[in-house]
Each structure stands twice: as C-alpha cells, then as structure tokens.
C-alpha cells in the first residue's frame, strides 16, 4: 500500500517443505484456464482488486497446505530453504526488471518455531548472499528467541523484534516492519539488541572466548587435541617457544667462551 508499484510474495515454511503461497505458479498465457478464472475472481465488495486477490490466494493455499498432507510434524522449521527460494525469486525479478529500474528488496520472517540446528551452514551462506545483494532481512518473533535470525538481522541491517503481546501483532507489523529501509533512521524504532557472536566449540557446544581453529577445515575447539575430529588431520605439537630462545642463549654464551 505504500507505493502502487510494490509487489509482495508469500512463502510458507512448513516442517517438510517450503512453498510459495502467493503468487501461485502462472501457466503460460496460451492455456484456456486463465480466462475463466479471471471472471470468477471479480470481487463483489468494492475492495481493491489486488488486495482481494492476495487475500484469497493466501487463504486458499494455507488451507490446502495444512489439510493437504498428513506427515509427521517437527518442532523446528526449515527456514533456510524458504529463504533460499526467496533469494532466487528476488534474483529472477531483478533480472526481469526493465533496464535502469532498481528494486529495493526486503524479506520479513514471521516465526514461532525453533531453529533447526543442522541448517547453520546453509543459513550463514544465505545471510552472506543477502548482504552482498543488499537485501534486508527483518524478523518478527512470536515465541522462542532465535540466534540465527538475530545474526541475520544484524549482518544484513534489518530489525529483530520479539513480540510481547500477540494481540497487537498488526500494530507491530505496521509500526516497525512496514516503513522502507531509508525512512527507518527517522523513526523511533525498538533498539537493536546485543548479538552474541561468540563461536561455539565443536566438542562441547559451549560458547568460548579463546579457542583453537583447525587451519584445514576451520572447526573450532576449546582445548588442544592432536587430531581434528572433522577432517582428521594430525597436528604437529608445538612446544612453547621459550625453550628455543633459551637454547640460543646458551649456545651464544658457549661460543663466547
């Protein structure tokens, strides 16, 4: 609603799949189905046609998604897959845009589920790609805090907000996430939180201040061990450098004598 040329796309991140809710896949214009559906969707209550289309499509697709398949549900969501699809879609729109037209894309993630620990690496790849393409990732968290999204928002320059009252969701969305990136500096928005960038060691999963990094595979350990558990390279054990210096001093003295 901010600008008549703005476009929106909605992706659902289900436990086993990611799916575009809106826009739905468009068949080629040569098929006949398109003409018929156009006549069916004319709104009757005076609503802006575009909004009606978005509402109806999202409603229908969500209903289909939830009632459709009966698979086992997990408590974490495959967010990295949905973000990857979003980035590819943005890439396609940028290619299709007319020459000289610049898109200012951004991604809003509304999340209530846990993080999926196995997606750390994919997530980081996606965050760095978004940073390079100047895509801002915002996060609106309903239930549990998410370390990955905190890092994503910090690195790409977006806003991370945990909603305090769920009944006020619309107000949070309108106040914090709707304004475009350029006007955000002029608004009084919730302050940025402190992001913990400390690494977790691979052996105990504890956050560490000083650690040892394998030069081959970049895995982080909290204590020195002779073999890297990820890439199985054996490390040379280096003695403390003090001993070498003392030896040199002794030989120098001997030479003098």
């Amino acid at each position: 609603m901010l600008h008549h040329l703005n476009k929106v796309a909605v992706i659902a991140s289900h436990t086993n799949r990611s799916q575009f809710l809106y826009p739905t896949r468009e068949p080629s214009p040569s098929s006949q189905d398109v003409d018929e559906s156009r006549y069916q969707n004319i709104p009757r209550d005076g609503k802006y046609e575009h909004f009606a289309k978005v509402d109806d499509t999202v409603f229908k697709e969500v209903k289909q998604l939830i009632t459709g398949q009966e698979e086992e549900l997990h408590s974490d969501t495959l967010l990295a897959g949905s973000l990857a699809m979003a980035l590819c879609y943005i890439h396609r729109l940028e290619k299709e845009a007319a020459a000289g037209e610049k898109l200012k894309p951004r991604v809003l993630v509304i999340k209530a589920a846990d993080d999926s620990a196995s997606q750390y690496m994919d997530f980081m790849n996606i965050i760095f790609t978004a940073q390079k393409q100047n895509i801002v990732i915002d996060a609106c968290i309903l239930d549990k805090e998410s370390g990955l999204l905190q890092q994503a928002c910090d690195i790409t320059g977006g806003i991370y907000l945990k909603i305090l009252q769920r009944t006020g969701l619309l107000q949070y969305l309108l106040w914090v996430f709707l304004p475009p990136v350029k006007t955000r500096s002029k608004l009084a928005l919730p302050p940025a939180i402190h992001v913990d960038y400390r690494a977790a060691c691979f052996c105990h999963r504890t956050l560490i201040d000083i650690g040892y990094v394998c030069s081959v595979c970049l895995s982080i350990f909290c204590t020195f061990s002779p073999i890297c558990t990820t890439c199985h390279t054996a490390f040379k054990f280096r003695g403390p450098p003090m001993r070498a210096k003392k030896k040199k001093k002794i030989t120098a003295v001997e030479n003098v004598i």
């Binding site: 826009p23 980035l87 890439h91 690496m121 400390r198 690494a199 000083i210 030069s215 490390f235």
Partner: protein, 404 residues
Amino acid sequence: MAAAEEETEKTYIWEGDYERTWEAIKEDESGSLQTVVDDIIHRAKRRRLLDRPANVRLGMMRHLFVVLDMSKSMEDQDLKPNRLASSVKLLEHFIEEYFDQNPISQIGVLTTCNKRAEKLTELGGNPKRHIAALQKCVDQPCSKEPSIQNSLELAATTLRHMPGHASREILIILGSLTTCDPGNIHETIKAMKDLNVRCSVIGLSADVRVCRKLCDETKGTYGVILDEHHFKELLLEHVTPPPATTNTESSLIRMGFPQHQIHTEKNKIEQPSMCMCHMDSKGSQGFSTSGYFCPQCRSKYCELPIECKACGLTLVSAPHLARSFHHLFPLDLFQEIQVVDLQDTDDRFCLACQAEFRDQTVYRCPRCEKLFCIECELFIHESLHTCPGCTSCRPKRTFTTFHQ
C-alpha cells in the same frame, strides 16, 4: 596435483587443432543470435566450475603479496585511460572481493619501478588501508623498467617469517616485456620454490618465458590478458583459495572471539576509552564506550578481524570463519536434462523462482532431485552455495557431520 601435470602438456592455441568457430553459431527461429550467445556464456561458466578439482585441501589462511608494475610500459593506453589506472581500479575491486571471500587472510602491496622494488603497504587485514595507498600511487610517475627479482626477494623477506599453516602467495601484474635484475633470477625462483611460495603472474602485454618458468616451478598460474574484461576475470580467479601444497603444515591456531561490549566498571558507569587500532591517529576516531575487548589482554578494538597488538592473539568473529565454509563444502554440480526428456510427473516450473521453463535445458540437483532453471542454477552455484531443494526437505543428507 594431477591437474598441474596436465597443464605442462598444454600447447599453444595455434599448435592445436583448427577450430571452426563459425559452425558453432546458428540462428534460432526469430533470426536472433542472442540465445546462442547466452548458451555459450553459460557453458563457459559451467566449464569453469567443473575445472575446479573437488576434495582438494585448500589454503584457507592466505598471505598474498600483490606486486604492481610501475614501469614505463604501464603508461601505454591500450587499457583506458592507461594501464596503470585500469590496473589500480581492478585491484581495488579485487581487494574487496578477496577480503569478502577470505576474511582471515592478509594482503600486502609492492610496487616495482626504476629497477627497484618498494613496499607500498605492509601485510595486513584492513582493506581500506590498501585501497587508499593504491589510489595514491596512480598519480606517481612510471619510469624505466621493473625488476621481478627484487620484488620477489622483497616479498620473501616478509613471507619467510609467516607461520607454516598459512599459504604464501605472490601475484605479479606485469605490463612490460623485460625485467632488469641484479643477479640470476633462476636462483631466486629456486629460493621461492624452497620457501613454498606460490607465484602467479598476470601479463598485460605478451607471454614471457621467464614468467612462465616462474609460475610453473612454483605451481602458480600465468595468464596474459586479452582485454579489460579478461583482466578482471583473471584477477578474480585468484580470489578463491588455491589448493594447498603438500608442504603446508596443518595446525591448530589459537584465536580469540571477542564480544561487542560496553566498557563498564563494577559500579556500572560507562567509561569511554581509546581503541588500539586508532591509537596513532591524530583525530578522536576510536574514542568510544563500546568495542571489542581482547579476551587475553583486554585491549580494545573497533573492528574485526584483527591481530591484537599487545598479546598477538588473532581476533575474529564466528561469521568470519563461516564465510569460508562454502569453499570447504562445495555444492555438487547439477545434472543437465533436456526439457523433452522430462517425465510427466515432473513439474514444468523451477522450484526456486517459480518461473516456467523457457529454455531447452533444465538442471536437476543430484541429492534432492528437484529441477531448476538456468538462471537459478547459476545464482545458486556462484552466490548462494546452498540448494533450495535440499534445504527444504528433512535431511537424508550425509554431510551434516559438521554439526553433531
């Protein structure tokens, strides 16, 4: 290592078979050549991705010296506005990309002119310093001849002291066809080989035998540019980590992971302090209450990654290491499939961008068996490095030993 042996058998293009390039180009139905051109470009990109050997150990921590030729031949105007200005502009872009892909590595810049070599910037991890120094040297006059031997020896004096686990590299951008050296350059080449330094050269004029010998002996790459576009491509090839030589030691490097903190005393009053990186600067830059504190000696820094001046500990943050992960776990190449060969159960839409397939070839990921269009396939392999299909389904993947 097998790839290196193949390179020595490569002959010059005119010695090979005659290539009938005009037969490769055909017009499509509407009479335009655009699709054929696009196709050729895509194939060239994919071939480059295929050439990179998989499962080869890479040198992740890199110490690279860039040697910029500032001799008389760099005033030649075959690259606009002149060779020196064009090289500096491309080098700035190269330095930014280099630090983007290798955040824990370092670069130093040397210049060679007037038969001598000079150090423009020391080895360091801050890209702005190098870029500022490069921009200043565009105005300096170019004179006489370069000296490859002097620049190699100057670089070696610093690289000699670098720890064994880091890769040592030199990249020479040479515009002249001669080099004026004080001694026997073959001895210097042998010394480079013994020091385990990988020397690569980008020539701006023509193939020079000494450069080719230098690169072959030290297992580097030698390229001669055709035009500015090709120059950029050759430079950007050096951004990705090279395969590690057998002499590179593997060791555990001690690193610190500081947090961004606000300095407070016991009674919780914020106290401003000066940071160590701007200690020598005359302005008030760096005087603030918050920053990164070294976990070993508590000295303050405003940016990472950096090496602590007081205690010598390398300070990084976890995303910096994460940036290099995609080199270590590269994405599998997708299989090419023609649209006509698709079965009825397959979609006619690309999974990632939801566009209908317009081209004749589509790509299938070997792990998740989903289909992608050409644009998404290029985007995935060049920038994204994760497959949207694989990340959207529950892992039957086998490479998650990393996180368990």
